[in-house]
Every structure is written in structure tokens, then in C-alpha cells.
Symmetry: C2
Subunit: 292 residues, 2 copies
């Protein structure tokens, strides 16, 4: 089978054997952003045409490729939801030469106040985890961090936090951006730690953000430490306001996962980094629900 995790700004394809082994993987740094609906079949041929020629198994596509701005919209499946629910809601697309691909829907949920939330692409990573029975919390950090409550292998509910997006906005525009170095800096662990601590002080995030400026102004935060102080401040707020239950599974690339693991450690949140390639395993497991 072929599994593709196709997001806004990235593309990860896996050729997977009948036993679930990843035989080959291929990545691209460009996602669905800027694509027209009619562009998709040609891009797929260009990127994995050779795989499609030799592998006649199912082709599954997850992520923003299934959004309103993507190839074809696959409506959100309401939580609680497991793999069988995703399988029942797959959407077909013609991927070229009469062949059909299956787009994986995202998930939606509502919190206790009825406020809706959505994910698209993360669900397939969650279903690639090997989790114990009962309740397990997972974090998928990033532009829009997802904090997910899994129960018996199904997604029971989740909350999205705009941590990464706010970091990018504040680093590129306005008062704080003017206080940061022009060039990227190495990871500054003391700065990151100070940010995590600052996130627990009284006054709330809107006040803590101004503290980046006033600390810089008073020479109490080095310019090279400022980006990671800001990162720690935001991640600290994210983790402090998230639901907790037992050991949290961190699902992310190595660098980001290690940053969150450190932060969890300082905040006394038991945490572990989940194995990589969860998306490939999730896509493989989902393909087992297809007939044939």
C-alpha cells in the first residue's frame, strides 16, 4: 500500500509492505498551499509515479489534502472516533489512470461548553501509536498544538493551542520581534527554562509577553536567550492550561519533541517521546479496513 501525509506545507509518502514494514519513504517541503484541485494527480505522478506503477495496493491520503482548500473535502468525523469510524468516512479521489485513492477525514469534537475543535492529519498519527487500554494523553506540538485524550485506542476529545503560530507572529511582527536577534540562534536552554518559569508567574500571558520587552530593556534577558525565553513562555502556558492524565505521549520530530520533553520535566508532567513514523503505521492500519 501507499500512505501519504499531505499537509499545508509538507508532503510525506510511505510505501508500505503487506506486513506494515515501511519499504521506502519520500518527503517534499511543499504541501497543498497554492495548489488547485486539478493539480493533484500530476503532482502525485511526479512524486511517487514509480511507486504507483509497481504497487497496486490501496492509496491513502491524510492531512490538509482533505480540507476545503485541498483536493477534496472529507468532512470531519465527530469524536469519540476510532479507526473504523475513519474507514467508514473515507472519500474517494481519482488519482490518474482510472485508479482511486482514499482521503482520510479529520476529527471534530466539542468541549464541555460545546465549543467545537478540529484536527486534520494528526488523527492518523494518533492511530499509529501502540497505547495501553484506558485513558492516555498525547501532545502533537506545532503551529497548532493538539492535546488529545485517547481512551482504549480511540480519540475521546482534544484541545488545540495556537502556540507555534503565536510564536511565529510575535517573532516576525511588532514590539517583541524588534527585541529579538535578526539571525537564528542556537537553542538557549537557560532562556527556555526561564520562559517556562515565567509562564507560571501571576498576571497571565498578555502581561508575560510584555515582560519580554521590559526584561530586555533592563538588560535582564540576553538577546541570544530571548527567542527561547519566548518559546518557553508560550510552551509553558500551553502545558499549564492542558488537561493532564498520567504519562503524556509526545508526537513530534526529534528537536521539537525534546523541547517539550524538557518542558514537561520541569513542570512535573510525566512524559515520553512516541516512536517516529506513527503516521505511516496509522495509514497502514487504516488500509486494513478496506475490502480486498
Amino acid at each position: 500500500m501507499i500512505g501519504i501525509d499531505w499537509g499545508s506545507s509538507n508532503f510525506r509518502a510511505y510505501r508500505i509492505g503487506p506486513d506494515g514494514t515501511v519499504l521506502e519513504r519520500r518527503e517534499a517541503d511543499s504541501g497543498i498551499a497554492g495548489l488547485e484541485r486539478t493539480d493533484y494527480p500530476a503532482i502525485l505522478q511526479q512524486r511517487i509515479g514509480d511507486w504507483l506503477a509497481v504497487d497496486s495496493g490501496p492509496v491513502l491520503l491524510s492531512g490538509m489534502v482533505g480540507s476545503r482548500q485541498g483536493w477534496r473535502e472529507a468532512a470531519y468525523v465527530a469524536c469519540p472516533a476510532g479507526l473504523a469510524d475513519l474507514a467508514a468516512a473515507l472519500c474517494s479521489v481519482e488519482i490518474g489512470k482510472g485508479r482511486v485513492g482514499h482521503i482520510v477525514p479529520g476529527l471534530s469534537c466539542r468541549d464541555a461548553d460545546g465549543v467545537p475543535d478540529v484536527m486534520r492529519g494528526e488523527e492518523i498519527q494518533l492511530f499509529g501509536l501502540d497505547l495501553p487500554a484506558g485513558m492516555v494523553m498525547a501532545i502533537l506540538p506545532g503551529t497548532h498544538s493538539k492535546h488529545v485524550r485517547m481512551v482504549d485506542g480511540r480519540v475521546a476529545g482534544f484541545a488545540t493551542m495556537m502556540t507555534g503560530e503565536l510564536y511565529a507572529l510575535l517573532s516576525n511582527h511588532g514590539l517583541i520581534a524588534a527585541m529579538l536577534p535578526q539571525e537564528p540562534t542556537d537553542f538557549d536552554e537557560p532562556g527556555f527554562h526561564a520562559g517556562i518559569l515565567a509562564s507560571g508567574q501571576p498576571g497571565g500571558l498578555l502581561h508575560h509577553l510584555f515582560g519580554v520587552r521590559s526584561r530586555r530593556l533592563f538588560g535582564e534577558l540576553a538577546i541570544t536567550a530571548a527567542p527561547d525565553f519566548l518559546s518557553g513562555l508560550l510552551i509553558g502556558h500551553e502545558l499549564r492550561s492542558a488537561e493532564r492524565h498520567g504519562e503524556v505521549q509526545i508526537i513530534a520530530g526529534q528537536k521539537l519533541a525534546k523541547r517539550y520533553l524538557k518542558a514537561c520535566g520541569w513542570l512535573g508532567i510525566p512524559a515520553a517521546i512516541a516512536p517516529e513514523d506513527a503516521a505511516a503505521r496509522g495509514l497502514y492500519r487504516l488500509s486494513r479496513f478496506l475490502p480486498g
Copy 2:
């Protein structure tokens, strides 16, 4: 005397009689942004040269004109501070034809954790209020909202919140901006109220911000209500995380002051709008400390 409140993006000048009456006022929409140190005397002549010719009283200048990026830096005075402390720390500048003007310093403070905070320009408005003895809280909403604890007419301490700046960043860049109308909308009170309520739900600001997107996605927030929902969300977070004590004095232009008064009402915070022209009164009161 002549009092000038000269900020980053605005200029407000007052000609004030010996009894404190504002005889004339003049405004400009351009502040210190982009000015060189040597530009100031000519701009002053151009904007209030006629006043300077007829009024030989003191000339006081407050606001960002006294910052490192302004005409001359007037170092922050540490809180607790009153008018006499400001008067003792005035900085002179040559305003043309051998005449001397006085730049008003800003204030600094440290919270219980030792984190510094600063204001510049707001202090003169605070000293223009007629406050009862004892502790009074004041809010100066805006790009960087100030929540100030006044004790017996002096500034005891304060906390800055980046409410207005974050509103501008989120309205102009990224995910939420894409969900807002292109054109300015009329004030949507139900949207603003819903935002204030949402700010009290579990999950924290980073999560609540994503709710703007998910509510729009599910058709549960009209596009015309979205800007004021976002405003309510941020102002709600600001007010909920601020120190409270008795009736808070709101110091702002009418539109913004009414918005905060409404929000305070919904949150059960006793509040009143302070009289306008507080800056003029503060500058006048400060001028009384000058010799002659």
C-alpha cells in the same frame, strides 16, 4: 504654560492658563516614529510656534519623546512615585531660541517576582486624576494596556498587558486574520459579549484563540461578529488576570473607554470612565513644581 503629550504615533499639545484652564489644544496624527533627534525643535516651532511666541511659561513634554528613540532619554523613575519624584527627574532640552523645555520621565516598577515593567506617557495622565485617598486601581487600555495601583495619589505599581498589540497582530497575520472580514465592521456587541464569556472557559488563551477558527468553521460565529469576538476574548483575558481593588478608573478615549466599561460590567468589576484631558491636568500640576 504649554504641555505636550508626544507619543509614538500622536502629538497632543495644550496651552494652559495660570489657573489650570486649557485655553487651546492642538493635535497631530504623527508622533516620534521616524524622527531624528535634530528634527524636534523645528517640528515644535511648526506646530506650536505661535504659542511659544506668546506664552513664556514652562514647556513640559511627556511620552515617548523622552525614550531612547525620542528627543532625549529621560530615565525611568522607580515606583512608588508621585509628581514630586517626576519633577525631580525632569530632563532639559533646548527647544529653540535659547529656550529650555522639560522632558517628563517614565516610571518603572517590579512585581513580587522582581520582573520589571515600564510606562512612559501614562504617568502624566494618572497624575491628572482626582483620586480619593487610599488605594485606587486605574486602567489605561490600548496597544499596551496598563493596570495601575495608585495609593494616596502616587503610582505604587502596575502591570502592562499586550492586549491591543496582540489584537492587531492576530487581525493582520495568520490563521485568524484569514477568518475576519476584509473591511472594518461596526461594533458587534453580541460578538464582543461572546468573546468576554469565552475568555472565562477552561483551556487558556492559546486554546481560546483557536476557537475563533473552529467557531467560524462550524458556522457558529458570523464573520461580522468575529473581530469583536476576538476583541472580547483578549480584553476578557486582560481583565480576568488583572489585580482588582474597588472601582477601577478607565482612562481612554470615549469609544475604547465604553468598550472596557461594558466588559467590566459583564465581569462584575466596578468601573467608571475618568474625565478626559487628564494628561493636560497632569502636565499642569507637574509644572507647579518648577521654580518661578
